[in-house]
Amino acid sequence: MSDLKDLSATVEDLRSKKYKELPSDLVNAILAIEAEALDSLKAARQIERVIDKWLSEKEAK
């Protein structure tokens, strides 16, 4: 998938209106993982890692 501009814009639009507490970079990271993924299990593991990292960084702060 080469052009996710419209898709990302839709998700960002919703996030900023309804889910402000969710960080934009985390949402975009999930989108990027899913856009490249062919295997659901691999994608879920990657998302899990991204979220673990984000939670650890948040805790460290």
Partner: protein
Amino acid sequence: MLRLVQLRLQNFGPYKGDQVIDFPHDDGVTIVYGENMRGKTSLLNAIRYALFGKLLGRGSNLIPLHQTGNWEAAADGRFGFKVILAFEHDGHQYELTRICAPRPGVSKPESDADYAEEALLRKDKNVLGPGERDDELARIMPEQVSRFFLFDGELLQQYEELLRNESEMGQQIAQAIERILGIPILTNARRDLRELHKAAQKQESKAAQKDLQTRELGNHLADLTEQRAHQEKELARLEAAVAQAREKKAALEGAMRKSERLGALLSERDRLAKENGELDEKIAAKRDRLKEVLANSWHGMLSAKLNEHRRAVATKTQELEARAKDATIAATLLDQKTVALKERVCPVCRQDVSSEAGAALVAEVGAPNAADQAILDQDELLELRKEMAILAGLDPRDDTDLIRELIVTMEDAVVERATKLDRIAEIEDQIKGVDQSTFYAQKSEYEALIRDITILEGGIKPQRQKGLEIDESIAEIEKRLRKVGGVEMEKERQRSDLYGKLHSLFSDAVAEYRERLRKRVEADATSLFVKLTSEPDYKGLAINESYGLSIMHKDGHEIPLRSAGAEHVVALSLMGALQKNAPLRGPIIMDSPLQRLDDTHTRNVVKALPHMAQQVALLVYESELKPQFARELLLGKLRAEYHMIRRSARHTEIEKGIGSAA
């Protein structure tokens, strides 16, 4: 974006030896001219084979490998074929080679089993392993969306399916459209986040079970998550069964469409036979009624005589009744005359009876009188009244009209039955030797599948409801846990919360993106359609839930029936709109896309081609699109021309330029 660079064929179909097409790097159109049976469809198939390893014939049936190699080459002992497709994608150079060759030890292959296939993908000169190769190809061009890049006549019917919401084929195409538009990115994210959220809830329940304060709630939560796992397993089982049944139904619809003509004939024959059965019953009922009416029809013939006799009896009765009245009067007079003779005084005027008058009275009293006759008349009158009563009881109804109507109705039914029998015989003649059992088996299987789907869907609804109820209970326990939980619990809570919210965001995004896309596809398809159509009264296209497009008249009404040409233009409009909105883009390769179009539409379509995709390849015959006409219409956007040269019925070569028209 996927961009074709070069296609190299070796002994593929009619292409003997090595044949090459170079696709120019600049955006625009490449035209390959070839007359019928030269190999245009084979060229499209070669690209399909390179990308997906499949060879499709009419009706989307697979073409055997053994029939794909060039016949003349095979006659020379060179069996098998090779396709090499070079392309670019996202800044990388790829070379995809597929080889189909006889298996080691097979000198003269006779079936597909005697061949072995190999596929090799180089990415920037590095050869990828089989798994990597398949992943890479699936990412660059998923097979499910190939119909939007490789266009042939079969597509037209598929687009029509989109207008029928209940059609399985339509649903599958709609799914493919959503795939090309990138919706699976969101639906997969939603699915993965849901799974991660469930795992986080499980962790939360485990953490709760470790703490004395929260153990009971933790146990309850663990129990609920377990219940939900079971419920989801059952739901998944039902959904998979429905999907499988739907897939079978779609395949069956496809197969049944191929025997559509036979199906129509058989249905007509069965309907006529049924109607003839009803006619037989109608004719038999009318015949019985006619027999019944005819049995008493002689009554009608007596009617005139009976009426005449009735009138005579009535007249005679009236005469006798009048005479009876006269006799009564005569008897009274006689009594009075007798009294006058006896008493010599008139009982009426009380005058004395003279001797002359007395003599006259004696003569009158002695003469025969009406009273004597009256006694005889009474007997006859009694007889006549009896006869009249009998005659009144006789009802000689005239059923001539009813008989005539019954005969006419019966004759009409007999003629109708004979006409139907003629048509049945005609149909029987047309389907002579055709295997009807397959059609009936398919029909019966189709009906069984519809029943199965209904039952399975009936089971899915309560399962989903159960899932919602469990989710509500889990949310309630989590709420209570969070009030009493400690530090460890807090970490798990945060994680679970985050997954839950992300899942909700992506769930909402699926619906939102889908809606936005439908509107954009409708607007872009309309914009293209208005350019392509020559009908000024058509103001645009309206999209339905499954991306089917209807033509809208300027008065706001939908055009219910459209010609093959209009269907073609709508299909091209949809393809253009999808290309414009899809995250996944690539070349459009069209096999004889103009053959159903008139000059005006051909002109409009050709002019619009460079706007439909960055790279377009047209496979046409020269009378479908004259080379000079194409050049005038495309101007600088015509990047390359090739033509197919016939060497023999089984040998075609590809050359740059326009051949005979040059």
